[in-house]
């Protein structure tokens, strides 16, 4: 074997080794993050966490108001955001597939998809909190809804595009108007995909903190008034984790574990629903 050949082989081995090592480190990192969460958060996880309110420092308690607040705001955000997202995605795939408007909206939507969420919080502060004069759960929900919209637009359009055109043509040939074609044909075929999109959107917003900090703020009482400041899991984690009190830090870890488990469950569920479609 000559020197050049050996050098090429050596380089190849190094590259392969580096690729394997990088993957191992990436996976190891995931394991470290999850491991840390379980290590610090698991023993705090009990029914009490869901039943008792967030405590003052030094006392024991749970995260009930935070969990309830998160559920309310997430639910409302999905309620506001999903219809807009689905309709917009429908236009882009069914009516305006070759429109200029569609390509512009797709471009803008992709940017909104990765836009910094704290900017969304500032936006909602400017247009809702400031005119209303106080923080409120409803403005938190609106901020989250703005994050939901691009996710749902994207998946709806993608999924409707996967529906074979021959199905639409067959329906149209039978005389169905277009609105019926996509309500009864396209949507039925793409339903699983659209549900996946909504689940992913829920996963995305259930951990969002930045847009809630100055819209919903926080609330240590069990308020479910959407016109008043409202607690949420991420905001409580933020407050408790940075506090000097050990009890609060413990609760923050437990809250973090709850969110992570919920998010992982949602994204795995979304994948399971979407998976059979991908193969067909």
């Amino acid at each position: 074997m000559n020197a050049i050949y050996q050098r090429r082989r050596r380089r190849n081995t190094i590259a392969i080794g580096a690729a394997i090592a990088a993957t191992a480190i990436g996976l190891g990192w995931l394991a470290l993050v999850l491991g840390g969460l379980f290590w610090h958060g698991l023993d705090g996880l009990s029914l009490r966490v869901f039943v008792e309110m967030t405590p003052p420092p030094g006392a024991s308690g749970g995260l009930r108001n935070a969990v309830v607040g998160s559920l309310i705001m997430t639910g409302m955000a999905i309620m506001f955001g999903t219809p807009v997202g689905i309709l917009a995605g429908t236009y882009m795939s069914e009516y305006g597939r070759h429109d200029r408007l569609t390509s512009v909206v797709r471009f803008i939507n992709d940017i909104l998809l990765s836009a910094p969420s704290i900017v969304i919080g500032l936006f909602v502060y400017e247009v809702m909190v400031r005119p209303m004069g106080h923080f409120s759960g409803i403005s938190g929900a609106v901020a989250l809804a703005i994050i939901v919209i691009p996710v749902v637009v994207r998946t709806t359009e993608d999924m409707l595009r996967l529906v074979p055109n021959s199905m639409r043509e067959a329906a149209a040939a039978m005389g169905l108007p277009r609105s019926h074609v996509f309500r009864h044909i396209s949507f039925r075929a793409a339903r699983a995909g659209v549900v996946t999109g909504v689940l992913l959107a829920v996963a995305r917003i259930s951990g969002e903190t930045a847009p809630l900090l100055f819209t919903a703020l926080n609330n240590q009482f069990g308020s479910i008034n959407i016109n008043a400041p409202m607690a949420s899991l991420p905001a409580v984690i933020f407050q408790f984790a940075l506090s000097p009190y050990a009890d609060w830090q413990k609760l923050a870890w437990t809250g973090a574990l709850i969110i992570t488990l919920a998010v992982l469950a949602l994204s795995i569920a979304a994948r399971l629903i979407a998976a059979p479609r991908k193969n067909s």
Binding site: V33, V119, A252
Partner: protein, 327 residues
């Protein structure tokens, strides 16, 4: 139609009515969905307008010097964005320096090396990293990563690299644990999945014929990657990197936990600093006085403009590669 007999005429009439109803329903639905699509555009326009309006008092007071001054003093109401901008850029740079090679190597592993059976589970596991909320990385970074860096990594770096002329100042000062380097590391973990998944997608789009031809000439796997796969996918990879960069620039909660929040530009990577998003997250609810709030909104506007440009460039590059592969 007038020639048709009674029953038929009724039928026709109802059919015409039904048709008209369909047509109207169709037009209505078209307009509704179109309005929703336009709403997405309005949303972006609204965000920009609201930010400009909110930032106006600060921009009018400080002018261009807002971008170039370091002072951040709520008492004397002197605000400058230089320190947060510097922190944002430096932490993102650290993140990209770490995440880009790792992301590309993982993508290469997944497309070229990985046994078929493991491909999907490993891919999903990496994508799960992307699904973990920012605040989780924050709490983990603060309580697990920062102490580890403080005790083991930073003293070692100070001892070894701290005296190297030229770069030594980057590794000077006491090891706090939290600071620019820690924030950059956390960001690297967070953007890694974005870079990996886009790189994997574009690597998979390389026609097998090209790779086979290179293998046929006797190229090693590395040579195929280096001289066929990477040149072919360059545009897409850059697009993916920019997308990751856009994420890193705007990331808030994770950074807020570990950056240390100091409005000062310090040369050392171990020193605490701040980023645009961390400043807003920390100070916005406590900001009193119109100018203070407005300055924070102005920071948000700057952040939005920077990320908008980066993300738009990323999308443009990715669109180009999509068009080429006819996707």
């Amino acid at each position: 139609m007038a020639l048709q007999a009674g029953g038929m005429a009724m039928d026709t009439a109802s059919r015409v009515r039904a048709l008209a109803r369909f047509r109207m329903g169709d037009a209505l639905f078209r307009q509704i969905t179109r309005a929703a699509a336009v709403a997405v555009l309005i949303l972006l326009g609204g965000v920009i307008l609201a930010l400009v309006e909110g930032a106006w008092p600060a921009l009018r007071t400080f002018g261009v010097s807002f971008l170039a001054t370091q002072s951040w003093n709520p008492v004397t109401e002197k605000f400058g964005a230089l320190a947060p901008i510097y922190g944002t850029l430096v932490t993102s740079l650290i993140a990209m320096v770490i995440a880009v090679p790792f992301g590309l190597l993982i993508a290469l592993f997944l497309t070229e090396l990985c046994p078929k059976m493991l491909r999907r589970p490993i891919g999903i596991a990496i994508e799960l990293l992307a699904g973990i909320p920012s605040i989780i990385y924050g709490i983990w970074g603060l309580f697990v990563l920062a102490p580890f860096l403080q005790v083991y990594v930073q003293p070692a770096l100070i001892a070894t690299l701290g005296d190297v002329p030229g770069i030594g100042y980057l590794f000077a000062g006491p090891p706090y644990g939290i600071g620019m380097l820690t924030a950059g590391l956390i960001l690297a973990i967070m953007v890694l999945p974005f870079i990996t998944s886009i790189a994997r997608d574009v690597f998979e789009a390389v026609p097998a014929v090209l790779k086979e031809a290179a293998y046929g000439l006797g190229c090693t796997m590395w040579e195929v990657i280096r001289h066929v796969v990477l040149p072919y996918t360059r545009v897409g990879v850059i697009g993916g990197v920019m997308l990751g960069l856009g994420r890193a620039l705007g990331e808030t909660m994770a950074v807020t936990f570990v950056i240390g929040n100091a409005h000062k530009i310090m040369p050392s990577l171990f020193a605490p600093g701040t980023t645009i998003s961390a400043t807003i997250a920390n100070e916005f609810t406590e900001a009193v006085g119109g100018l203070y709030t407005s300055s924070l909104v102005a920071l948000g506007l700057i952040l939005f403009v920077i990320t908008f440009i980066v993300l738009a460039a990323a999308r443009y590059l990715l669109l180009r590669i999509e068009k080429r592969s006819g996707g």
